[in-house]
Symmetry: none
Subunit: 203 residues, 4 copies
């Protein structure tokens, strides 16, 4: 066996371990607060030694940061898909975005973990979590603004006020479903809210 091949195999193995740990971190952080979650919980959940976890991530904060990074990556995918989508009015695309995001959240423990971490993170990491929140704000505001332009959204009310209510409703749905049933009912909630939001935003 060549030296090079051996090295590559080792690297492959390392990557796999890292991913397993990351998924385990997602499951654990989705279930409990940052402080309540123990690194031992994560390494146990992954079936990998604690020492190995420290090899791949320098410390607890780094584990959380890595989870947040993946979360944002996955959310950005959904975001981009909708933003780049050209069919339909801006209003439709906004509401599609909410539904798409709801589906993602309901089905992905790692994304749930990211959401949960947002409210229980040590101060040093807060910014990292908020980065995504800012982008989200920007996107909804943009879509509402475009809606006013293309006529799918009413112009009678300041766009930022409309965006505010939309965000509140979506966040509320997330929090309530997260609290009560581990986000399982989130897609349903968003689907039921859709006609209400249309009524609110349409001209």
């Amino acid at each position: 066996m060549s030296r090079v091949g051996e090295v590559r195999r080792k690297q492959q193995r390392g990557i796999r371990t890292r991913l397993a740990l990351l998924e385990a971190a997602g499951r654990v952080f989705a279930r409990m607060e940052y402080d309540k979650a123990k690194l031992k919980d994560i390494s146990d959940d992954a079936g990998i030694s604690l020492g190995s976890l420290y090899f791949h991530f320098g410390n607890k904060d780094d584990v959380a940061a890595a989870v947040l990074d993946v979360q944002q990556e996955r959310m950005t995918e959904v975001l981009s898909a909708v933003v780049e989508e050209t069919e339909g009015t801006s209003l439709e695309r906004l509401l599609d975005l909410l539904e798409g995001m709801a589906e993602l959240i309901a089905g992905d423990a790692l994304v749930q973990a990211g959401i949960r971490l947002l409210t229980s993170l040590p101060d040093e990491l807060k910014d990292r979590g908020y980065g995504y929140y800012d982008e989200w704000q920007r996107v909804t505001a943009t879509l509402v603004g475009e809606g006013v332009e293309d006529g799918s959204v009413t112009s009678g009310i300041p766009a930022h006020e409309l965006a505010e209510v939309v965000n509140e409703t979506f966040v509320g749905a997330q929090v309530l479903s997260g609290m009560l049933d581990g986000w399982q009912t989130l897609p349903g909630r968003v689907r039921r809210a859709r006609p209400r939001l249309e009524q609110l935003l349409a001209p």
Copy 2:
């Protein structure tokens, strides 16, 4: 000095200490998660010894439980005031309730603490916090239902769906303001949302 007076004075002192500790607990739990909050933080904030805190509350859970009790008491006051209020339509009373609650939350660290604890409590205490949540659900549902009867709320949409959206919006406003500015903008958010909710609920 009469015996009775003496006893009363001693009790007064104890009661005062207990209250000071409770308020301090409110401030601390409003600022951080249950696990992140240290009892030392609370006793320091109150300027009272840690031992004394343990004299008045048996353990950390009991401190949180006492905070929750006070929170629910204060929230119930606002709730009752609005429910017993006879002027105005049910819709107006519902929206008044949201505004009243927003004012209470924005101005009362102990109530903020209760809200925060709801998402970071150890399982044994979860029920204690949810008690209030259930009552809140019932009250909004009732007010929406009464609104349908007295004609102030549309009958075209199932009452429970309307209540759901109202709750989501209110919870979302709470969470966002709590996260971003310590609930200071909550009353403004609710005030801005009022016409939107009227538009949604009115026939």
Copy 3:
């Protein structure tokens, strides 16, 4: 009411309180080790405030010391009664002493407490407890010695060896009954052992 009478009444009350605390201490120390027993347990058992306990006894060690004193007093009573008794041989008086002591122990929590304390006392108090033990040694040795003189005890075996076995048997009976049933079967054990000891000691 005269000043003097009032003072006397207060003293009476104080004495009664002190006794109640002492009995409570007996019950508590009979049930558990010195370290496991909390002064709060004692004051609660007596239905008297902790502060009052500290008024009557300076600290925990003093409480234990007071219990030991009463124990020794009560044991010495039994001891004296038998020693001063003139009827019967020395052997009979020795065995009577064992039985009398067993009865005392089985019926008196405070004496049980003294016994228990003997093995769980802080070093500073050890001497106080051992004082009695030494006296006990002396008495049994004396009685055995007198038995040899009056012919009720065999002279074929060194008196101190005989005394040793007698003590071991009695202590063993105490420990076993104390461990297994709170000393209730101690008198029975001693009664059953009597003929065995007679067989051993008689010429």
Copy 4:
């Protein structure tokens, strides 16, 4: 270095640490009551960190339980040796057992610790300690019974009464020597008691 050898070496290290802690626990528990003994005393005595102690034993009770297990193991060894011994009468084997046990106790701090723990254990652990006591009872009763059959023990007195006195004497010797000189004189006491017990039990 082979993988297997590496693992074995690591385990060896853990096992060695665990044993060192166990011996230290024996020394400490032999010197003082359960409640008086601090885990810091044990880890200091072993020259190992307190955290490590918690790594090997979950909590204080578990440390005591481990000590008891080892004690019982070592006592059972002596017990088995004597029981399986075929030479000599039952009476001789019984007395040999007492002497063997006395030697073991006098020379082994861990066994001394077990004895001491028996009287100062939290209730949850009592059973664990009594297990051995029951076996001891059974063994002495059995040997006495066999003695009656093989003629080495008198049949004039109920076997269980004889066993009772034997146990009392042995326990008394243990307690007195434990109290007065850390069990150093126990073998001497038992040796001196041997002819007395023979006199008592022989036909």
